[in-house]
Amino acid sequence: MIYREVGDFKTTYRADGQTFPIRFDRWRYYAVLLVAFAVVPFIINDYWLNAVLLPFLIYSIAAIGLNILTGYCGQVSLGTGGFMAVGAYSCYKLMTGFPDLNIMICVLVSGIITALVGMLFGLPSLRIKGFYLAVATLAAQFFLVWMFNKVAWFYNYSASGQINAPERTMFGYKITGAETSAPVTYLFCLVLVVILAIVARNLTRGHLGRSWMAIRDMDIAAEIIGVNPLKAKLTAFGISSFYIGVAGALLFAVYLGAVEVGEVFGIQKSFLVLFMIIIGGLGSIFGSFAGAAFMVLLPVLLKNVLVGTLGWPTDIATHLEFAIVGALIVMFLILEPHGLAQLWRIVKEKLRLWPFPH
């Protein structure tokens, strides 16, 4: 009975346009933030951080990024892995080239560099549409991975061809390197996630977001009502790539610490992030989080149950994971193309009316 909008009248357009128009949603949102900032850091341990929380936070950023491009602007990209690699290698070059530069600035500048690369590869989207474009973005994927593999300058001519994150601190706390503590890296990523999610929400509710959705829903009509397709698509590619670049930088610098490009940023990564937004929900910020959580938790769960409890070999658990993920993707596309976010909306709709059926 608490979940009601009845009696919660909006008297201004400002109140009507807010992110959580229902009071209960607003309170729940504050509660989640409170727990994430004030409770989790005190109970977190290394296993939870590395197995679940860090990948969840980092992939959420990547998923929001791809959702901006694919879910909001309708341009499917299979180059996510390549763009994440741009973020990671930019971050590496910045960290090693300017040792005094703050790590937060390194990460954000990596995002900006990725945005520029993304816009470059977004240029063909003006001429090429639909899955022709999806296939064209594979060009970015393969070319970028090849480039980071072959051009030794990018990995500072290291013999292994790997890049390793040097130790960097912020406010005296170690963020990257070998001896980081769980609450610090967690909070570092959490701050970025929260800010970037709010920015994404703001961008998608304003006129920029509407011009993206107009292009997505009917590009010809959008152009005729005055949307500049070049500008709309390139901003979507740029901002999306910024998010993906930041995620790549974090994945390398904060989470993995060492990266070999083909292994970490291959085409599988592109699919992983694409699956997150399909399962979570295209065109939904919440869905990006839900999808990232799902795709991060599923392997952990399968591994714990099948390998940990039942004692099966790991490779069988991996194969089963592939089969399950694939089947889920098909199922979601058939049954609920708007993903977990839509299922959540349906539950909320039911809750609003509960205990009445209609």
Binding site: L203, H207, R210, D217, A221
Partner: protein
């Protein structure tokens, strides 16, 4: 029935003032490969008038609208808008000059609500930077609210308050047509192009739509060019009519003049060739 009759601005019988020529099409020809869609057509549209383009199916009417709003580029001929010859322009640039349109097959943004669809019509008036939109509070929110107020006026005008937050895909056809008109109106156009605004409607819906069109013309002073098949409606609401057949212009004048034109009658009713 020559254009000479309309050299000066004039006042219609019901007292509306018709001004100067805003748009002039000069000897337009449009071809797709070997198919000629429009053959050497010239006509003009005057400030404040309701100009109809009629003709049988496949006469090239929609192509004509597509030329006016720059979606098609004619191989020959010139388009003059407000005394200036139009150079090579993209459709979105033409929209920013104040030309809006609706479509024969509804072209709403299916994934968005009625409100958001009409708000897209305001896009050409919204230009806060990406940075200020990212922070929202301040200029972006102010701009959003100002434009929302304008959109709410249009929602009131079209009497669609109750479907404000409904996704347009789930609306009935007649309402979708109305939302599309709302989206076109939201850009505050000086010239509004309507492609069969009443196709597939019943009598009441047609009456509603006619009323909206006339009100738009009257209250906002918007010049209107429309394509319509219902002759009753066309004759009732338009000031002047262009008649097309097989891509060529076969008549141009007031509804009464056009109605009595032999070539027009032949095109519509068929004529025996001796």
């Amino acid at each position: 029935m020559t254009d000479a009759a309309f050299q000066e601005s004039y006042t219609t019988p019901d007292g509306r003032k018709i001004g100067d020529v805003v748009m002039e099409m000069k000897n337009i020809s449009l071809r797709f490969g070997g198919v000629t869609a429009i053959k050497d057509i010239s006509f003009d549209i005057r400030e404040g008038e309701v100009r109809a383009i009629i003709g049988p199916n496949g006469a090239g009417k929609s192509s004509m609208l597509n030329v006016i709003n720059g979606f098609y580029h004619p191989q020959e001929g010139e388009v003059w808008f407000r005394g200036e010859k139009r150079g090579p322009m993209k459709p979105y640039q033409i929209a920013r000059q104040g030309i809006a349109r609706t479509f024969q097959n509804i072209a709403l943004f299916k994934g968005m609500s009625t409100l958001d669809n009409i708000m897209t019509g305001r896009l050409i008036h919204m230009n806060t930077s990406i940075a200020s939109q990212a922070f929202w509070k301040g200029p972006a929110e102010r701009e959003e609210i100002e434009n929302r107020e304008r959109v709410e006026k249009i929602i009131d005008f079209l009497e669609i308050q109750t479907i404000r937050k409904t996704p347009v895909g789930s609306l009935p056809y007649g309402l979708q047509k109305r939302v599309e008109l709302g989206r076109a109106l939201a850009s505050d156009p000086s010239l509004l192009l309507l492609d069969e605004p009443m196709a597939g409607m019943n009598v009441e819906e047609k009456e509603d739509m006619s009323r909206f069109i006339l009100d738009v013309n009257d209250e906002f002073g918007t010049t209107i060019a429309l394509i319509e098949h219902d002759m009753g409606v066309v004759m009732d609401i338009s000031d002047r009519v262009v008649v097309m057949d097989y891509g060529a212009k076969i008549g141009d004048g007031t509804p009464d003049e056009v109605r009595q034109d032999e070539k027009v009658i032949a095109a519509y009713l068929g004529v025996s060739h001796d």
